[in-house]
Symmetry: C3
Subunit: 397 residues, 3 copies
C-alpha cells in the first residue's frame, strides 16, 4: 500500500514539467504553478519513501553549503537532513571564521566556496531590501563563474528565508494544506486568514506572511491579510497576491482586525512581524552600529506593539472560524501566552489543541528541501525518482 501511494506520487510528478536544473529557487511566484505542484508531488514521494524506511539517496558526494546570517533550528536541521538523505556533505560557511571580514567581495567568496558545491542554502532575513539582493548577487557570481569555466557546474541556491519570501516554509505549509484537505484542488474557495499577532519581541521578519499570501493565492484560496495600522507588508508583494488571486479564481483582501479575518475561515495563520517602516529604519540603524538608536527603536516598537496585545489567537477568536474548527498554522516557534512568554501570539489552550498539527506542518520542510535539491541538481529527475522507487519496490519484496 505504501508502494501504491509512492507510485501514485511518482506518476503525478512525472506528468508535470519542471525547468530547475542548475537553477536557483528564491521566490515561489517566480516559478510556474506546474513547478510548484511538481515540488509538492516529489516532496510527498520522498516523505513516503522515508516513512517506509527506504533510502532516497541520489548522489555519491558533493557539498551542500549553508550560510545562516540569522539563527535557525528547523530550517538548519531540515537542510542538513535533506543533504544527508540525498548523499551530500553538509558544510556550513561561518562568516566569523572565514576571511570575509577582510573585505572580500561577495562574487569572490561565492566562487571560492563553490568549486565542488552542488547546493547553497542561504538565510539572510535581517535587513529589508538586502537578503534577496544578496542571493541574486551570489547567483550572478555563480553564473559568471560557471560561464567562464571556473566552476565545473553552477551550484543552485535555495532561499532559506530572505526579506521577501521564505519559500521552503511556504511550500511546507502548502504541502500540509494539500495533505490536510486531501489535494491541491480542494484548496479552491477555502478561506485563509493570515493575521498579525501580538508578540513581546520585535523585529521578526516579514517573509513568512509574505510567503503565505504570495503562494496560497495561486491555488484559489480566499486569503485575508489582517494587521494593525502601520504593520503592512512590502507593497509589491501585496500586488503579487492580488494578481495571483485574480488569476487563480481566489480572493485577496486586507482586514484591520484578527476577528474580521477569522470570521468563517478554514485556516488561520496568526503570526507576529515587525512593521515594514520599522524594519527599514532598523536596517539603516544596523548599518551604522548605533546601539543607542537601536535601543530607542526597540523601546518605541515594543511600546507600539503593546497597544495590540488583543491580537492573540484565543478560543473566542477561533470560535469565529468555520464551525469554530479552522486549522491553526504556525511556522514555529510560536509565542504562546503563559508558556514561552506572558502574553503572546496564541493562547496556551489553542496552541495545545493544534500542537501536533503544527508539527506535521513542520515535518514537510526537510522533504520540500530534498525536492528542491533533487530538481535543481538532476537533469532527469523523473527517471531518477522512478529508479529509486523501483529500488524501493525490490527491497520491499
Amino acid at each position: 500500500m505504501a508502494n501504491d501511494a509512492i507510485r501514485q506520487q511518482l506518476e503525478a510528478f512525472r506528468a508535470l514539467k519542471t525547468d530547475l536544473h542548475y537553477k536557483d529557487f528564491l521566490i515561489t511566484w517566480e516559478h510556474p504553478r506546474q513547478e510548484i505542484e511538481a515540488i509538492l508531488a516529489l516532496a510527498e514521494a520522498l516523505k513516503l519513501l522515508h516513512q517506509q524506511g527506504t533510502s532516497y539517496r541520489a548522489f555519491d558526494s558533493g557539498l551542500a553549503i549553508s550560510i545562516f546570517r540569522d539563527n535557525s533550528t528547523r530550517t538548519r536541521f531540515s537542510f542538513a537532513a535533506a543533504a544527508s538523505a540525498l548523499g551530500f556533505t553538509l558544510s556550513e560557511l561561518d562568516e566569523q571564521k572565514s576571511q570575509i571580514a577582510h573585505g572580500e567581495t561577495v562574487r569572490e567568496t561565492a566562487n571560492m566556496i563553490s568549486f565542488m558545491a552542488e547546493v547553497i542554502g542561504i538565510r539572510d532575513d535581517m535587513f529589508l531590501g538586502e537578503g534577496h539582493r544578496y542571493m541574486k548577487e551570489v547567483g550572478d557570481a555563480l553564473t559568471d563563474g560557471a560561464e567562464r569555466g571556473v566552476l565545473h557546474r553552477r551550484p543552485s541556491i535555495v532561499n532559506l528565508q530572505c526579506d521577501v519570501d521564505h519559500p521552503t516554509q511556504a511550500l511546507a505549509d502548502l504541502a500540509w494544506l494539500k495533505k490536510h484537505f486531501g489535494g491541491l484542488d480542494q484548496l479552491k474557495g477555502k478561506k485563509l486568514a493570515m493575521s498579525w499577532a501580538y508578540s513581546p519581541s520585535y523585529g521578526k521578519p516579514l517573509s513568512v506572511p509574505q510567503g503565505v499570501i504570495g503562494l496560497m493565492t495561486r491555488f484559489g484560496m480566499e486569503v485575508t491579510l489582517a494587521h494593525p495600522e502601520g504593520y503592512g507588508l512590502i507593497p509589491e508583494v501585496l500586488e503579487v497576491a492580488r494578481r495571483n488571486a485574480a488569476e487563480s479564481g481566489g480572493k485577496f483582501q486586507v482586514a484591520t482586525s484578527m476577528e474580521e479575518a477569522f470570521r468563517g475561515a478554514d485556516v488561520v495563520y496568526p503570526k507576529s512581524w515587525a512593521p515594514y517602516h520599522v524594519m527599514q529604519r532598523r536596517t539603516e540603524i544596523l548599518k551604522t552600529s548605533d546601539t543607542a538608536a537601536l535601543k530607542a527603536l526597540e523601546k518605541e516598537c515594543l511600546a507600539n506593539n503593546a497597544r495590540f496585545t488583543g491580537w492573540e489567537c484565543d478560543r473566542a477568536k477561533m470560535n469565529l472560524t468555520r464551525g469554530g474548527k479552522a486549522l491553526y498554522m504556525h511556522c514555529l516557534p510560536a509565542d504562546i501566552s503563559g508558556v514561552s512568554c506572558q502574553q503572546g501570539e496564541v493562547s496556551a489552550e489553542v496552541f495545545e489543541q493544534y500542537r501536533i498539527p503544527t508539527y506535521h506542518e513542520a515535518s514537510y520542510k526537510p522533504f520540500v528541501i530534498s525536492a528542491l535539491m533533487f530538481l535543481t541538481r538532476l537533469r532527469d529527475p523523473g527517471a531518477k525518482l522512478a529508479a529509486i522507487v523501483e529500488r524501493a519496490r525490490r527491497l520491499s519484496l
Copy 2:
C-alpha cells in the same frame, strides 16, 4: 586470524539477547547484564573490523545529532567517528545558533530536529538533577512524536554524560578491563579502587565515578569508593552499587583514604570530582546567574580542595596495590602534577607509566558508541553483523 577473532565475537554477540531497537541508552544499570555483554561483544567485533581495515558501514544516510551542553573532545570525536563509520551524517545542535533561546520548549525542539534523525547524543552534565531529567524529557517528546505520526521513526538517545551516569565512558572502561584481564569472567573478585583525587579545578561532574561503581559492581568486582569527607556521590547511586555487588557476588564499600582503597587493588581509578552538595549549590547559583556568588563558591571550594592535596596517585600509593602493579585507569584528561598543573590527580611518573594503557582504555569509546547506534537502530543487529562479517571475509580472500 583476524577473521577468526571477529567470528568469535560475532558468535558471542549472537548468543546474547538485546532489546534496544528504537530505544534510548541513558543509564547502564537500567539495562540487563546480558545487554551490556552484547554491547561489549559487538564493540569488540567492530573494533576488530576497523583494525583490519574493513568498513562496517550499515546505513545509507540519516542524521546523528549531537547536543553538547559542556565541552568535550574524546566523546565528541568518538560520536563523530561512530556516526561516520556507520554511514550517518553528523549534525550538531548549537543552542547558541538556534532559536531555542526564544523560549521554545524542549518537546518542540526534540521533534523539530528529529524528522530524519536516527540517533541523538546528549551531554548535559553541568547541573545536578538536570541532565538525566532533560534526556528523559527529550525521550518522552520523541515517543510522543512517533506515536502521533509526526516522526516516521523514533530516534534513539545516547547519553554522552549526564549528572548521574557517563555510560559510554563506563562501557569503554569495562571493555578495556575485559580486554586487559582476558574476559568479563576474569573480573570476578578483582579489586577496583575508585578514588577521589586532588585537582586544582573544581566543579568536575560526578558521573564518571558513579558510572564506574554502578557498572563494575555488576561483574563481581570488589569495588572500593574512597573520598574525603564531604565529597560523597549521589546516595541513590551508592545504593545501586551495593545492590549490584550483592547480586553479582562482588563487594562494594566506602573508604576514607586513597591508601585504604589502593591496598591490594588490581585496578585503581583516581579521579577528581566536586562534592555533591557543592554541585547542588552551584546548580542553584547558575540558575540565578549570580557571578559574585559563583566566584565565592569557587574560592571556597578550591580552598576546601586544597586541604586534600595529599590525594595524589603517586608511586608510594601505587606500591600499596597488588604487587605494586595495579592497572591505573582514567577517563582523561588527567590533572598530572608538574605537567598540566602544579599539583594534581596523579604524579607525572605514574601517569607516564600508564599513559598508553589509558589511551587503549579511551580507544574503546568510538566502538562502544558504534555498538549503541547499531543496536538501537537495527531491528536484527545479529543478521546485519553477520552480513558485514561475511562481506569482510570475502574482501580479505
Copy 3:
C-alpha cells in the same frame, strides 16, 4: 575526449613513484620532485573526473579532521570538498569547545581524536617557529600511537598553512602554472617575480611567498624575490630556494623593488607579508597576552608599512613585464585598491583583468588536497585511480 585527457593523466601518474602511504605532507621541499609531479598529475585527473561529473569517491567512511588555528575560507572549503569527494566525513576540532584548555598535552589530543581518523588537516600560521613545530609534534604523537597499537592506522597530516610553508597553496599555484604554460617542462626559464606588496593590514604570514620560492625554483623557473628592507623571509627558506635553483637549472635572486623584479617577468605574484622580525616580536608578545604591547607593535608596523605604499601592482608596473602581459597570481583575497581598501596590493584595473585567472588558480586547491588524501591513505593509488577511471569510462558509454 574528456576520457582521453583523463587517461593521459592516469598514465602520467602511474609512471611516477610516490612514497606517501600513511605519511604526512608538511613542506614541499621535503618531498622528491617526482612526488610533486605525481600529485599534480593526480590532481589534474581528479579535476577532469569532477568536470565530467564522475564521482572519484574512494572510501566508504572515515574521519577527515581539520584544525584551524586561524581563519580560512578557501582552504577550509577545499578541505571539506576533498573529504566529501573521497567519502570521508569532515569533523572540525574547535579548540574552544574541547577540553584542550584544561592543559591537555598535544600528544594526548592527537591520539584521542584519531582512533578512526584518516587525515588531519592543520592550519597554524600565527606564530613564527610554532606552526611547523606543532605539526611535527602531532605527527610524532600519531607515529607513537600507531606503533604502540593505540591507533589501528596512523592518520596523515596535511599542512593547511604553517609558519614555513603553505604547500596546498603552492601546489595549486604550480598546477595552475603547469596548465597555463602547457606543462611543467614549459616552466624552465620562465621568470617569476614574487614581490612584497603594500597592505593596510599587518601580520600576514610569510608562508605563501616562502612556499612559492621554495617550490617554483625546483622547476627551472627564474625566481626573483623582492621586498623593502626589513621585510625578509626566514633565512633557511632562502637557502632552500638558492639550492633548488642551482639543482634545477633555474635562478633565485633578491631584488629591492617591485619594478626590478617585474622587469621581463612572465609571472608576477605581488602579495603582502609581515617583516620576519616583526612576526618574531609578535609571537613573543602574543604569548604574554600584553594587549598594549600588541597595539604598539601594530601601530609601529602600520606606520612602517605606510612608507611603502608605492609597492602596488598597477598598470605601469605590469607594463614592465614581458610584453606587458605577465600572468598575475594571488592566493586571494587580495587587498585591491579602491575595492577592499583605499590603497592595497593591486590596482582595481589590474586585478579585474586577472580576476578569473586567479579564480582558476584557486580552483586547483580542492583537487590538490584530494590528491594528498588519496596518496597518503591508499597503499596502491595507481590501481585505485585506474579502477575509478575505468568506472567513469563505463558510465560514460
